[in-house]
């Protein structure tokens, strides 16, 4: 089997696939496996007018909004998972600082359906969820229509399909051809990746493809749909990654404290984003001791699976 080598640096992957004005699905596994390193590279490259797509992003959306990269947000929840509100997000919506952002407020399920519709190649999916809420009257991607399939006149919420320009997904293991294993909670990672035009995988480890194809059911998405594979150990910090590290709660709390005002936000970005030429520098700044304390317990291992091919 002939396969392409899609491995590149983080810098190259972001510069090639994330453009000014792109719609970017990032942080799709909710609190876990958030591609913070990729988000920071987007900030360093000073991308602007982005549309961010994601259900619940912990602090990453807050950081990208605070850095002025974002024009609009399609999300169910934006803030800080430990604390509630995100200071930069609040400043942007309440006071247009550093700039105004357009909100398309979703619920978790409507965003699920939008990306699922994208992944299935259908224009919309109907649901009864969120009927009667103001999400439907304030988000142009939610439209109420009567169910045409019976005579009951039931209202349905139609959820418009979404096709992100790029989905950025952090995985545990990837091969250079785009095969990958992601485990732990998946959120909308698969739907977003399948609906997107380009997919960037950032991975804790690059491994031989053969070691992944021993369990094809677990391959994240068909590898031909992946545009770039980037090795970024620790690339989700301070978010947790199953089998690798815990959420860095105190780092997250420090971020919330540091970003209460614009000067604090700018200082935080100078220190942790602009002050780090690459993620290797960031990893070093986090420090051995901290990484050691975050490491998860050793794996118990799963039972082997058998493919059932002819012996």
């Amino acid at each position: 089997m002939r396969t392409d080598n899609k491995q590149m640096t983080l810098d190259a992957a972001i510069s090639r696939y994330v453009k000014d004005g792109s719609s970017v699905a990032i942080g799709m596994a909710l609190e876990a496996s958030i591609p913070f390193a990729a988000g920071h590279e987007i900030i360093r490259q000073k991308r602007h007018d982005l549309t961010l797509i994601g259900p619940i992003s912990d602090m990453l959306f807050d950081q990208m909004i605070g850095a002025g990269c974002v024009k609009s947000v399609m999300a169910a929840w934006v803030g800080h998972v430990g604390q509630g509100g995100g200071h930069a997000f609040q400043r942007a919506v309440e006071a247009a600082v550093p700039r105004a952002i357009e909100m398309r407020d979703h619920s978790n399920f409507t965003l699920t359906l939008a990306l699922t519709a994208g992944s299935l190649g259908v224009p919309f999916i109907p649901t009864q969820s969120t009927l009667g809420s103001e999400l439907s009257s304030t988000n142009v991607d939610l439209i109420e229509r009567i169910n045409p399939l019976n005579e009951l006149g039931e209202p349905l919420q139609l959820v418009r399909a979404l096709h992100p320009d790029v989905a950025i997904i952090h995985v545990q293991r990837a091969a250079v051809d785009g095969a990958a294993h992601l485990w732990g909670p998946l959120g909308l990672a698969k739907e977003a990746a399948l609906a997107a035009r380009d997919v960037i995988l950032t991975a804790e480890e690059i491994v031989p493809a053969d070691s992944l194809y021993t369990d094809p059911n677990r391959i994240f998405i068909p590898p031909f749909r992946v545009s770039a594979v980037v090795e970024v150990a620790g690339g989700a910090h301070p978010a947790p990654v199953a089998g690798y590290y815990e959420r860095d709660h105190s780092f997250a709390e420090d971020y919330a404290k540091s970003t209460r005002d614009v000067a604090g936000m700018e200082a935080w970005l100078r220190l942790w984003v602009f002050g780090m030429p690459s993620h290797a520098d960031y990893r070093e700044e986090v420090g051995e001791e901290r990484w050691g304390a975050l490491r998860t317990a050793a794996s118990v291992g799963a039972a082997p699976i058998y493919e059932g091919g002819h012996a």
């Binding site: 596994a29 909710l30 609190e31 876990a32 496996s33 259900p55 619940i56 912990d58 999300a75 169910a76 929840w77 934006v78 803030g79 998972v81 430990g82 509630g84 509100g85 995100g86 997000f89 609040q90 919506v93 309440e94 407020d105 979703h106 619920s107 978790n108 399920f109 409507t110 699920t112 699922t116 649901t127 009864q128 969820s129 969120t130 009927l131 009667g132 809420s133 103001e134 999400l135 304030t138 039931e154 209202p155 349905l156 485990w183 732990g184 909670p185 998946l186 959120g187 909308l188 990672a189 698969k190 739907e191 947790p240 990654v241 199953a242 089998g243 590290y245 815990e246 959420r247 998860t296």
Partner: protein, 247 residues
């Protein structure tokens, strides 16, 4: 943890019956659910919006549902579409969630305080709350009892309770299998919805008075004839909660 906060978690946990399938929101709901699993509801099934189905409690309780300890020992781990699909099909007995504001008819606001077009305060947003109150058979909402939080009508309707009252849910097309917000548990009291969806004061926590609860509520509260005192947290509840909160 204050007495009122502790009572809020304990009272919410008591709403969970053994064997129920529960959609569990972030933070306080995770703690209340873990407490119920540890005590009177060991076979309750927890569904989490990130795609985890879990029957074994973690000790201490996870700070976020994405923490690795939520995956280790889980019953099933997949994606949001599956757990939301289970919710949409009516397989969830109880939704357990927080909110920024709740109103007289159990509608929730987790999005905008003030006018939507020029909000005084932006809250994080729906998350799964709009889906949970649309689709779960019943819902328990946890929030601190303050007049700016328990309001006559929410500033923005993120998650549907009973809208403007009787018949509203049916009229907007929400499934008949879902009753929306049925119980609100605060640090002062328990409020329950009547057949029209209006919340009544039904229990007072220790130290709370009807007057204090009314003063912290933005609408003239109806008071149940069967108004009672919430049973104080038991030693067992306090010990289990302390163990869950270690670390």
């Amino acid at each position: 943890m204050s007495e009122g906060e502790l009572m809020m978690i304990v009272a919410a946990a008591r709403e969970i019956a053994d064997g129920e399938t529960v959609f569990v929101g972030m933070r306080r709901p995770m703690l209340a659910f873990a407490l119920a699993q540890r005590l009177h509801a060991p076979s309750a099934v927890g569904l989490y919006e990130n795609g985890i189905v879990r029957q074994r409690p973690t000790t201490p309780v996870a700070r976020t549902m994405g923490d690795p300890r939520m995956t280790a020992g889980a019953t099933w781990v997949g994606g949001m579409a599956t757990v939301m699909g289970l919710l949409a099909q009516g397989h969830v007995d109880l939704g357990l969630l927080g909110a920024g504001q709740v109103d007289r008819f159990g509608n929730l606001n987790s999005s905008y305080i003030g006018d939507y077009a020029r909000p005084e305060r932006r809250l994080p947003g729906s998350g799964g709350s709009s889906d949970i109150t649309s689709l779960a058979k019943r819902c328990v909402v946890l929030l601190p009892h303050q007049p700016q939080r328990l309001v006559e009508a929410v500033d923005y309707l993120t998650a549907p309770g009973h809208g403007s009252g009787s018949g509203w849910r049916d009229g907007v097309g929400l499934p008949a299998t879902s009753a929306g917000t049925t119980v609100v548990v605060t640090d002062l009291a328990v409020l329950r919805a009547d057949a029209e969806g209006e919340l009544w004061l039904t229990a007072l926590h220790a130290g709370a008075t009807v007057e204090a609860v009314q003063a912290a509520t933005g609408w003239p509260l109806k008071i149940s004839d069967a108004l009672r005192q919430s049973a104080a947290p038991t030693e067992e509840e306090c010990a289990a909660l302390a163990a869950l909160r270690q670390g």
